[in-house]
Structure formats: C-alpha cells, structure tokens
Homo-oligomer: 300 residues x 2
C-alpha cells in the first residue's frame, strides 16, 4: 500500500509520500511515488500516485514521454485544470491498453493520483494564477481541493486523517502544514505495516514557480525522529492529564428515555425476565452516567 | 458503518460501540450493537457486532433464542473459548440459511463480532478463570486477544487505531482504558460520518461476574463533551509546541546515496537534461534536509 497526502494552504503547497510498495506481505519493496515536473520560473507540478505500481508507472510514462505532438502535455498546458485533464487522459489511455488484460488475471484497475502545482502566466511581477490541487481517480475524472477541504489523501488514508482534520486550515503556515503532514504520516506508519520509510517531502512556496524545498526522510533524519518520539510522548502525556470518568448512578441526573438502557439478555425462564417488555429473555437495566473526576486518579 | 472496540486489561474488560447504521447515506438509522448476556455471580458476556445489520441481528437471535436443547448455548458453556465457538456456530448457521439468497442480490455475507466476558467456575472466593476477549469472523472462526495485542476493533477501525496503539497496555487501569476507548471513538466520529452517537460503554471489573458499569452516551453527556473538547484543544496545543522544521542545505550533512534525490522530469530537449543518467527528460536534484528549529516560528 501507500500513504500520500497533499495540502493546499494560502502560502503554497505541501506534498508527502511514503515509498513502500508490496505485492503480498512477503514481497515488499521501495518505490518513489512523488514525481516533479518543473520548468523553473514557468511551472512546477507534483504528481503523487497510489495503487497498482505497474499502472501508476504506466501513467507516469505516458506523462513524461508524451507521444503524439498534437496532444497537450504537462509541459504545454497553460492552467492547472488542463494539467489535471492531461493526467486524467493518461489514466484513460492506460486503462484502454491494460484493463482487459489485467482483468483476465483478476487484477483490478486500481490507481489514483494527486496533482498539485502552479503554472505562471508569463508576466513577471504580476500576481500569478494561484497554486491548485487536484485528485484524479482511476476513471480519469478529477476533483479540486477547496478552502473547506484543503487537502487530499490517497492510499492508507484513515489512520492519519484525524490529526489533519483537527489542525489544518487554509491559513496554516507552510512549515506547520509540513509538520502536520509528517505527524499524520507517523500515525500511519505506527499502525500500518504496508506504509514505510523513506518519505519524500516537498514544500512549494506560492509564486516561486520552482521547487522551494525537498527532502527525502529516512530513519536517520533528526527532525522526523524528533516528531516520532515527541508526538507519541506528548500524546501520552495529554492522555494522562485528561480526567478519568467518574461514575455516578443515574438517580442523580436526568435520563432521556430508552437511550440509557442496556440491551441485556437473561437465560430462558430466568426469574429476572422482564415480562412487561414482551421479549422473552431480554431485559433492560437502568444505566449509570459519567461525570468528570475532579483530579486524575492515583496510578498503580 | 460501525465502530466498536473492546479491550482486555489486567483489571477487566472495556467495551464501546457506536449506534449508527446505514443502508446508503440517505438511509441512516440507529441500532444498538452491544448485547449483554448475564447471570449475576455466574457469567457476564458482551457481544459487539458489525456488518450487515440483518445478519448481526440474525446471529443475535440464534444466540438469545437457542433452538435445539441439545446444543451448547451462551447460558450453558463453561468456558469463554466454548462461548466463542457457540457464536461462531451461530454465524455459520445464519450463513447456511442466508448467504445464497443474499448473494443473488449481490449482498456480501458481511458480519464480524467481538465477544468478551468471564464465566465463573462456581467456587466462590477462589480465583476465577480470567476474563477473555475474542474476535469472531464471518466464517465463524475466531482469534483471542493477548498481552501484546490486548484489544480488538470491528467496523471503521483505522481512524481510532493510532491512539490505542500509543497508550494501551495490559497494565492500563480500567477507567483509563475506558477513556482511551472514548478518545479513539471521538477521533472516528470526527473523521467519519458513518459512525454516530449515542455510544454504549460497558466496563467490566474482573471477578465480579456481573456488569460493573454501563452508560449510554449521547451529545448531552458531560464527560464525553469534555473529552471531545479537551482532546482536540490539547492536540492542537501539543502540535503547536512541536518545533517546526528548519531547512538546511545538504551540503552541511552527510547524505546516503540516491535516497536523497528528487524524481524530477524536465521537458523533452530542455537544457537541464541530465544526459549522464540515460533517462531523457528525467533529472535528479540534490535534496535538502530537515533540522529542528530552535524555537517555534512566529505566527502570522
């Protein structure tokens, strides 16, 4: 599997990808999933790919070695939306060529991409068209990020989603967005073996029209080590500082109807049977409720 | 969908389930997913179910209204392992009855269960067989939790897994395990609409052989509100306290080979082409590296 995330904030773009690829758990290898298409001063595009590696690489070949000179390419399009369509068309070309043959072997046409970047309008000193971020699906269609949804993920996205949902907004500074992406990746690495180091991190500052910062992060990277260690430690500390629940009987607090009852089964014929409810053997019991303990309980 | 989690720690067991069920996003309803089978002083079993609601309820009917008197039931088995086999057999009975008919409508036989509890050996005052926790799959087979893997999840498990992986160990006190389960649920609720309040939380203290604590948590529950608010706040605070990356050129630090290079494409025929590498249009560029900023950067 894969985990890739890209963010579009006011200051620019952040891209982060892992490099693990596997065909079964006993066939694990490393593949780069981030590709950069750059003409300094003119355009800077980043493509992240997830899914079947032969498919994502085939799409990359279509894009990096365009065939017919008449068709638009990532080098010739003048807007990011057109660039997303070029990627979508490449996916459809690969689908037409590969999907049937793969299906005979029971292999799904499984690939998805994140495309982000900025293409200048040729006028220096004037405000450039803004950086944009797209998700391109296996069917070649695409969606764009927005201010209410300023990021995309592909691959094993769920583990690392909660932290992004909590901290990322369009006004998040670039370096802070990069930190958020790394923490999201760290949570994913911790919980899922199919995602692995090294990581490719690229930060793009708006209107520079070239790669601003790029780093490949392996286990020796001091900053990632710090995040990995500190985030876990501080998370455990915050966890221990949150008060434990203090259990109170519901006699003390108002209850709203059946929501508070437990679904309880008794053995057939048991004396505890609640005949009123007409469900033989089923019973309900009044619940307790939770309050917040005044202070953390003593630990063992 | 569903999110259920159960934990087996030294002091006992914790069970937490949401109550959202849906058949498509426009058909959302509430269903209880936690069922308790209890004979106070003798046995206390909790079953959590995820998957197709008609299937999990069918299994529950098999278990709560056992038919043939000759077969073992949750009321008659003398060990938790036997109880897991009873649940597995009920799943297989339902499969035999339902699977073919469902398949004709393209509906998968999709259900899974967590079973936990303790069955006493009848001797008061003597050490009882320990509480145990099992996961029962749709095929009726099961696995048991262990000290290195003291919890099980079913349903939308990935969002809430990182926090459990970071804090839960067998020596975690019961109330702290309950708090961990609630935080795990809160992260899931935040990131996935198919999981919803109210929640059923049951805490079982070892050797009591009856439900110790049970609460149904809705949006008015003060403790859950506090967790929901505090955890997000503190997470953002910890996030902001972690130093931002400080970018340095790689000239200052040792690099290990190609790992540090960026996969960079240039337009065909561009002057930047790196002919040495034999890949027309492809280029690599030396990477930067990350250090830890001495202090958090000023915010905008």
């Amino acid at each position: 599997m894969t985990y890739c995330v890209a963010m579009c904030v006011d200051e620019g773009l952040v891209f982060l990808s892992d490099t693990r690829t596997n065909a079964g758990v006993d066939h694990i290898s490393t593949a780069r999933k981030m590709s950069v298409f750059e003409v300094p001063g003119e355009r800077m595009l980043v493509l992240l790919g997830a899914g079947n590696l032969s498919l994502t690489q085939a799409v990359l070949h279509e894009l990096s070695e365009p065939t017919g000179p008449s068709r638009p390419t990532l080098w010739t399009v003048s807007t990011m939306a057109d660039a997303a369509r070029v990627v979508g068309q490449a996916v459809r070309d690969v689908h037409q060529r590969e999907a049937n043959a793969l299906q005979e072997f029971g292999v799904d046409f499984n690939c998805s991409f994140i495309l982000g970047g900025q293409i200048g309008d040729g006028d220096e000193g004037v405000a450039q068209p803004r950086p944009r971020l797209f998700m391109v699906y296996a069917a070649g269609n695409h969606i764009e990020s927005s201010r209410v949804n300023p990021y995309f993920q592909i691959g094993e996205s769920k583990y690392g989603k909660p932290i992004i949902d909590r901290v990322l907004v369009p006004s998040t500074p670039l370096d802070e967005a990069a930190k958020c992406a790394l923490i999201s990746m760290d949570s994913t690495l911790r919980s899922n073996l199919s995602v692995g180091l090294p990581l490719d991190l690229l930060v793009y500052q708006k209107d520079t029209l070239k790669v601003t910062r790029f780093v490949s992060i392996d286990q020796d990277n001091a900053y990632y080590q710090m995040i990995h260690r500190t985030w876990g430690e501080r998370l455990r500390q915050v966890f221990s500082e949150i008060p434990e629940p203090d259990w109170q009987s519901t006699g003390d607090v108002p209850q709203n109807g059946h929501v508070g009852e437990m679904v309880l089964y008794r053995p057939p014929g048991a004396l505890h049977m609640d005949a009123d409810r007409g469900t033989p053997g089923a019973d309900v019991r009044a619940a307790q409720t939770l309050a917040q303990a005044d202070k953390p309980k003593a630990r063992g």
